[in-house]
């Protein structure tokens, strides 16, 4: 009974925030709701006796991906100004219909199949030690591959998001982090300041 109540609570939490993440107007709210939904999923993993996965989910999704999304939202803020711009795409009704169709297509077989209405076997745990051993023996190649993939993704992300030199001259850029911004240039020295137009005059025919 207790288990069922916790399941329904977490499931409703997750679903509500997932819907909020997809439907709120303000993008920052969407991102934060998504983080809450991810955290709810982590709780569901805990209920399913997979604490390691739950913590990993929390660490990666809430600690990293949500933050990334928030940063991306702030870095692309210029796009959403203007009160009357609609957030939904023009044919959103069709999209919603397809989404409902997909839900039906998945949920129908689940609900109609009797073999899925089963109760959990009493004990199934994923101890950290076992996971570590499996990662180092049976899954060592996938692990290495994931390492390479993450490195490649990191380098790729840096290269893609790198500001090209020609876009903005170096030193002039004001990032969100450095509040004092680009430093002003030194004041003109008396010699050059005294006759600012002489040089121009010489070059003119």
């Amino acid at each position: 009974m207790l288990n069922e109540i916790t399941f329904y609570l977490t499931a409703i939490w997750t679903l509500v925030f997932a819907i909020a993440a997809m439907s709120l107007r303000q993008m920052v709210h969407c991102a934060l709701s998504a983080a809450a939904a991810f955290a709810g999923l982590a709780l569901i993993y805990l209920e399913l006796n997979a604490p390691f996965v739950g913590f990993a989910q929390l660490l990666v999704y809430v600690g990293a991906i949500a933050i990334l999304i928030v940063f991306a939202v702030l870095l692309t803020r210029g796009d959403e100004v203007g009160p009357n711009r609609s957030q939904a795409s023009p044919s959103w009704l069709a999209g919603l219909a397809v989404a409902l169709l997909v839900l039906g297509a998945i949920a129908l077989p689940i609900l109609s199949s009797p073999s899925l209405q089963k109760v959990a076997p009493p004990v199934a745990t994923a101890p950290v030690k076992r996971i570590g051993e499996e990662l180092m023996t049976r899954y060592v190649l996938p692990l290495e591959t994931v390492g390479v993939l993450l490195t490649a993704a990191m380098i790729g992300a840096v290269v893609i998001a790198l500001r090209e030199e020609s876009e903005k001259p170096a030193g002039q850029g004001t990032s969100l982090l450095s509040f004092n911004g680009g430093r002003t240039q030194r004041p003109a020295t008396p010699e050059t300041a005294a006759h600012p137009e002489t040089e121009e005059a010489v070059t003119l025919p």
Binding site: L15, A18, A21, N49, A50, A56, A107, L116, L150
Partner: protein, 104 residues
């Protein structure tokens, strides 16, 4: 009374559809990415549920799959958001219906 396997599967289906609906209907590329992440999470939930309710939980296959899937999701989010930022720099917009120059 404990929840049945189908409870988790239905929850996963709902999450998947919500993510799908968001990815299809919202204009912002970032929201679409969040939708994709939700869909991925729904799939992960399926794996964990089947592992927990499956016949051979000692093999840890579902857990392993989800761990790798989470790592993949991290990579995907990093690259995807970098692309979004890069696109924003080029086009000053991340609205998906404005980004349709690749067409027949």
């Amino acid at each position: 009374m404990n929840p049945l396997l189908s409870h988790y599967l239905v929850l996963s289906a709902l999450l998947f559809s919500v993510g799908f609906a968001g990815a299809v209907t919202r204009r912002s590329a970032i929201i679409a990415l969040i939708g994709l992440e939700l869909m991925l999470n729904a799939a992960n939930l399926n794996f964990i549920a089947f592992w927990r309710y499956g016949s051979n939980p000692q093999a840890l296959t579902g857990v392993m799959f989800v761990l790798f899937s989470i790592a993949m999701a991290a990579a995907e989010a990093a690259v995807g958001l970098a692309l979004v930022i890069s696109i924003y720099r080029q086009r000053k917009t991340i609205r998906l219906d404005n980004l349709d120059s690749l067409k027949g």
